[in-house]
């Protein structure tokens, strides 16, 4: 799994009906890569089945990650595996973190969460509070019992509005959004219909007011391969085979071709390499989704191949 780190489950807690929170730590007690609110990690759960979960712990604690996992009956077994099989003491592969949903500076925030979509917003409200911003969280869910982290949110008092559907109906978006207030940032995470409705309701707001993350714990259709692949180095003419337990960086260096690297965890960007042919399996924390899809650049300290062969500008 490339440079995906193996982290140990050190706590597993049921935090709502069908939601467990996992605490993850490095088996050696090492620091984990830094993250910012809105970031997610890839969890490698079963043979190559990778799913993405927002980090919902404390970024000031460099030694633990926390994720909240909803049991999804329609899923392909990733969340069921977490709920039914994964135990405290087990190790899981973790990739990332990456952030496609960063909290931008503002004096006023409106956070809208639907169900398990609370997870990326939890560190955001903590941060907004820390910064002394004016903020409101509206948190909808099916029932109170299905809504995770209500206890942690209780401390924020009347900034948090808990709206269980069976008690108060669906979120009345026009009411919560109100008239556009210049400078307010609206952050929304939750099921597709909620995001669609918020998009419509914010159509008259100033551009860039609304920021969303589509919380469909994405299942990567073609996860990292477990078989070797070939890397041809266009400039030096060498071809190397990358075994499943080696990084592209190691294999390329083994062929006597120098590649600079620094962090070795896909965060600093030093080993960025142009891809001339083939499809990389991106495992870095640098490229956003559009950049990943361009498939013209990869970070060889962690990223691998989806295709049988890559041609790199080395």
């Amino acid at each position: 799994m490339g440079q995906t780190v193996r982290l140990r489950v050190t706590a597993k807690e049921r935090v709502a009906q069908d939601v467990v929170a996992l605490t993850l730590e490095h088996p050696d007690g090492a620091r984990l890569p830094d993250w910012t609110p809105g970031a997610h990690v890839d969890l490698v759960l079963l043979d190559g089945l990778t799913r993405q979960y927002s980090l919902c712990g404390d970024r000031f604690d460099p030694f633990t990650y926390r994720v909240g996992v909803l049991r999804e009956p329609g899923g392909r077994g990733g969340s069921a595996h977490v709920h039914d099989a994964l135990r405290v003491g087990d190790e899981v592969g973790v990739g990332g973190p990456r952030n496609n949903f960063p909290l931008v500076p503002s004096r006023r925030y409106l956070f809208l969460a639907g169900g398990i979509g609370i997870t990326p917003l939890l560190p955001m409200v903590h941060q907004a509070q820390l910064l002394g911003a004016d903020w409101t969280l509206v948190y909808g869910g099916r029932t109170r019992a299905s809504m995770a982290f209500l206890d942690e949110l209780a401390g924020y008092g009347d900034r948090v509005h808990v709206v269980p559907q069976d008690e108060r109906g669906l979120l009345d978006l026009p009411r919560w959004l109100g008239a556009p207030v210049p400078g307010t940032r609206v952050y929304c995470c939750g099921p597709g219909p909620l995001l669609d409705a918020v998009g419509v309701a914010c159509a008259t707001w100033p551009p860039h007011s609304l920021r969303t993350e589509r919380f469909v714990a994405r299942e990567q259709a073609a996860p990292a391969r477990s078989t070797p692949f070939e890397v041809r180095l266009a400039r030096s003419g060498a071809t190397v085979t990358v075994a499943p337990d080696r990084t592209v960086l190691e294999a390329v260096r083994g062929a006597g071709v120098e590649v600079l690297s620094s962090c070795r965890q896909g965060t600093c960007g030093t080993c960025g390499t142009d891809v001339l042919e083939g499809l990389p399996d991106h495992r870095d924390s640098i490229l956003d989704d559009a950049e990943r899809e361009a498939n013209d650049c990869m970070f060889v300290c962690v990223s691998r191949a989806r295709s049988d062969r890559l041609v790199l500008d080395l």
């Binding site: 940032r185 620094s262 600093c268």
Partner: protein, 408 residues
């Protein structure tokens, strides 16, 4: 360095009364760095009442530990908890999470290697042009001072254009950076010498950061575009442009000078680069490790932090010697050798962790273009006369590097 009995709270912590900002150590810091590493993982510098680290392990760990070692109280000797900074603090260098997040994210997105691709062709042409101009003068052997002729000339030719500032006044960039990096040290004569021109230089730099001053397609304009998208606030944009102008010129100049000096004194390494020009990137990083153009930065303890056997009290300043860590024999084999066959990855010359030099890819591209252009034309390169160091409280710099090159 003399190691005496502790005179201040940290019982058992080695104490040094050396002045790392004095002219003797600035002229040749290597013996002091070695003594610092030998004295222990943490040393108290009695002259300034600060702690110091010179070993790779501790410097590396402290640079990663932004929770325990903050930058927001200033990365110089001055403690912003109790002292007024001489200018509004940098949103990058002198900020901690969460304030640091958005400016860092915006600037690192603008300066990632893939965003610089469009510059490679232009900078390669600029480097070839500069080198051709320099070597066209006379015969097969050419002499010049590499500091103004290459190390200063190339960054000044390409970087301000990439930022998008106007042509007028660019001569202010180097003296402004010079003052800034001196100001991280004590208020010694180096700071005093730069002070008279400071108001004028700072006013000029600040004026270049305004949206109206910047060309539409440069790094500066992209910072303002991020403000338009709301990724940063409009108040943050000019300060982030200022970071580019503050940290992007002098550092690269001195790193290039270090690389040129390294090659002039290691002819076998120049032959290696000539044979394999693709080593230019590794060569530059090895030069940055070997010479550490940025020698030091301070951090401030956010709480009582234990490092090895020393507890550094909350609010105390810690001087981290990147340069000493980059030559720590506990980490590097034969650390004093400039060697292109070494893997310099993991050196601390660009810092490490969340504050690691955001412009490192820009510096590498500049160096790669210039070294490649030189290697294509120059067969041998040697020192042609007395060299002169230039003292700065933070930077290891050359004032003059007379060189003689033979064209190949």
């Amino acid at each position: 360095m003399t190691t005496t009995a502790p005179t201040s709270p940290p019982t058992g912590t080695p104490v040094s009364d050396a002045d790392p900002f004095g002219p003797e150590i600035l002229e040749d810091p290597l013996p002091f760095h070695a003594a610092l590493r030998e004295a222990g993982p943490v040393v108290h510098l009695s002259r300034y009442g600060v702690y110091a680290m010179g070993r790779y392990e501790q410097v590396h760990a402290a640079l990663r530990d932004w929770q325990g070692f903050q930058s927001g109280a200033g990365v110089g000797l001055s403690n912003f908890r109790t002292e007024q900074p001489w200018r509004p603090p940098s949103l990058l260098l002198e900020a901690d999470p969460p304030h640091h997040d958005a400016p860092r994210r915006v600037l690192s997105t603008i300066l990632v290697p893939r965003a610089l691709r469009g510059l490679r062709e232009r900078w390669t042409a600029a480097a070839v042009d500069l080198v051709d101009g320099l070597l066209a003068r006379r015969g097969d052997v050419v002499e010049f001072d590499a500091v103004p002729a290459l190390a200063e000339a190339f960054p000044l030719r390409v970087f301000p254009d990439a930022v998008g500032i106007p042509a007028g006044g660019r001569e202010n960039l180097l003296p402004y950076g010079e003052f800034l990096f001196n100001a991280f040290g004590p208020h010694n004569e180096l700071v005093a010498a730069g002070a008279p021109r400071l108001p004028e230089l700072a006013a000029w730099v600040n004026a270049q950061c305004a949206r109206e001053a910047l060309a539409p397609d440069g790094f500066g304009a992209r910072i303002w575009a991020a403000a338009d998208r709301g990724d940063i606030t409009p108040e943050q944009a000019p300060l982030i442009v200022r970071s580019l102008l503050s940290a992007g010129v002098d550092t690269t100049v001195h790193a290039l000078a270090a690389a040129l000096h390294a090659f002039a004194t290691h002819p076998e390494q120049w032959r290696r680069l000539r044979a394999r020009p693709e080593l230019a990137r590794v060569a530059f990083d090895e030069a940055v490790r070997w010479a550490s153009p940025v020698q030091t930065f301070f951090r401030t303890a956010t709480t009582d932090v234990r490092v090895a056997d020393t507890v550094i009290p909350d609010g105390e300043k810690i001087l981290m010697f990147l340069a000493a860590a980059n030559r720590d024999p506990r980490r590097w084999t034969d650390p004093d050798r400039f060697d292109l066959s070494r893997d310099p990855s993991g050196h601390l010359g660009f810092g490490f962790g969340i504050h690691q030099c955001v412009g490192q890819h820009v510096a590498r591209l500049e160096a790669e273009c210039l070294l490649t252009a030189l290697a294509a034309r120059v067969e041998t390169i040697e020192v042609a006369g007395p060299t002169r160091r230039h003292h700065n409280n933070t930077l290891r710099a050359w004032g003059s590097l007379p060189m003689r090159v033979r064209l190949g």
